[in-house]
Amino acid sequence: MARNLLFWLGIVLLVGACLFPILWMLNLSLKPNELAQAVPPAFFFEPTFEHYPTAWRSANLGPLLLNSVIVAVGSTILVLLVSVPAAYSFARYETSRGHLLFMILSTRMMPAAAIVVPYYLIFRQFGLLNTHMGVILAHAFFNFSFCTFVLYGFFKEIDPNIEYSAMIDGYSRPQIFRKIIFPLLKPPIAVVTSFSLMFSWNEFLFAFVLTRTDASRTVTAGIEQFWTMTGIQWGPMSAAALIAIAPMLVFSIYLQKYIVRGLTFGAVKR
């Protein structure tokens, strides 16, 4: 009994630690301005909902959210178009005997800071700063190695004999893809799509550096504007931050299935 009690105490502590900063964000977003920096901190108070409309208007959150959607979806589609065929080629034909695959994988090791400056300069040259395409390309770069590697692992598990026997039965290559490979692809595509979307949504450095206006800035980078010379506007900023993370918090229910496989490059299977 005492042991059981201790266990649940541990669970409460764990869940509390995981949730507290997020709940505190909620607390700040509902707090009247005069209480935002109150000493001692106010845990209970008459909530105000004024920060949400304020944040929405002053930070232009509608367009920023739309930018986030465009960038996340765009970079995910781009990365799938590139990495699905590549992963298939690596898995089925051992193309370049793994050297190219390793090279692609090692781009993941490139420190973000080491490429943000050349990206900035190159994108400036090509007029890609402050465009959706610029951020899409940068995010696609990050997800490329991840997607290729995870898909490679999945393709490796598909028995090539299925394809050979289909070939003997007279199926052409496009038919084999349409009728055999694509149906098997659904779970891995779900994994890489989820993680690519999440990465892009949460990414800050590139979304911040490659955009200077609200024209293509994502919502995660957009929260930054509440940090003014006169200080931080805690209420509106927390409201905006919560709006920015809410889609991913909801998405996590779906993501839970894939989290281990996704976050470990497919190296750890369930």
């Binding site: 949730l19 001692p40 178009l81 065929p85 089925r92 290729t148 929260i223 470990t264």
Partner: protein, 318 residues
């Protein structure tokens, strides 16, 4: 040489003869021919690599040999930037800070995550919901949550100091004290990423065979002994993979610094990432920024290569 080439010609001819009567270079023929098809599939990936990896890298190397301070145009500068970076104490101290950050953060995350995974490894009511809640730090944008942490850490109105005071403990300047700020930022990283370790180790624990543990129980082995001699060796490959992934990610920490200390107080939380960002986008000295970038790239490639070899060795040995 002569003989070999003629053999290969023969076998190629034989292949051609066996293949359906279709021209090898027609669209259809290329798709059906494995040797061409496998490279055809890689065309988008190769374009991608050249445009987004190789070209920027070459560009960075070239720029690192230029005097390039925006908005003035670039001029050739030889080794000047390189000499400056290699002799720059700020660079090497930022490098040390980064290493400290990576080692401590990843170390704590691994130990804490493993302990919590062991703790959660049993059946209990509401386990799915509780695990679902533990994921949330992972999926929330780090920049957004770091802002909440900034409030929690505040020395005047922050909740953590309020609790410390209520417990009769001294007030702590979490973000303003240069000897503590780095650890405060590490704590945010630990909060965010420990759930990843929990989930991965948890998955590994669930996949372990039952028999050895039952045998150990019958033999009356202590919990510590079972962990040291059974569990740990079995989950070691998984731990190594997570360690590697986390190290790579921790090396590029940026968001939470921007949200909290911005490199300060002084230079106490200046990581390499931060330094490059400052040099490039605040001072606009792109020559120096790219020289740093290339140097970091080289260091990271060497380090990850060493780690990679260790990892492969460890997995093979298992």
């Amino acid at each position: 040489m002569q003989a070999r080439s003629s053999v290969s010609t023969v076998s190629a001819d034989a292949k051609e003869a066996m293949a359906p009567a279709r021209s090898r270079w027609s669209w259809r023929g290329m798709v059906e021919d494995d040797a061409i098809f496998k490279w055809l599939l890689l065309v988008p990936a190769l374009i991608f690599m050249v445009a987004l990896v190789i070209y920027p890298t070459v560009f960075a190397v070239v720029t690192s040999f230029q005097k390039y301070i925006l908005p003035r145009p670039a001029t050739f500068a030889g080794l000047e930037n390189w000499r400056w970076v290699v002799n720059d104490t700020a660079f090497w101290s930022a490098f040390l800070t980064t290493v400290k950050f990576v080692v401590i953060a990843v170390g704590v995350e691994l130990v804490l995550g493993t302990l919590i995974a062991l703790f959660l490894n049993r059946e209990f009511r509401g386990q799915t919901v509780i695990r679902g809640l533990c994921i949330l730090p992972l999926v929330a944008a780090p920049f957004a949550t770091s802002l909440a942490w900034r409030h929690l850490y505040n020395s005047d109105y922050g909740v953590i100091n309020y609790v410390l005071q209520a417990l009769g403990l001294p007030r702590v300047e979490f973000l303003a004290d240069s000897s503590i700020a780095l650890y405060s930022v590490i704590a945010i990283d630990v909060w965010q990423w420990t759930p990843l370790v929990i989930f991965v180790v948890f998955a590994a624990l669930r996949g372990l065979p039952k028999e050895p543990f039952e045998a150990a129980k019958i033999d009356g082995a202590s919990a510590w002994f079972t962990f040291r001699r059974l569990t740990l060796p079995m989950i070691k490959p998984v731990l190594l993979i997570v360690a590697m992934l986390r190290m790579v990610e921790a090396f590029r920490v940026y968001d939470i610094l921007y949200g909290t200390t911005r490199g300060g107080p002084g230079t106490s939380t200046e990581t390499i990432n931060w330094l490059i960002f400052r040099e490039g986008f605040q001072y606009f000295d792109l020559g120096r920024a790219t020289a740093m970038s290339v140097l970091v790239l080289l260091i990271v490639l060497v380090l990850t290569n060493l780690l990679f070899q260790q990892l492969i060795k460890a997995i093979r040995a298992n």
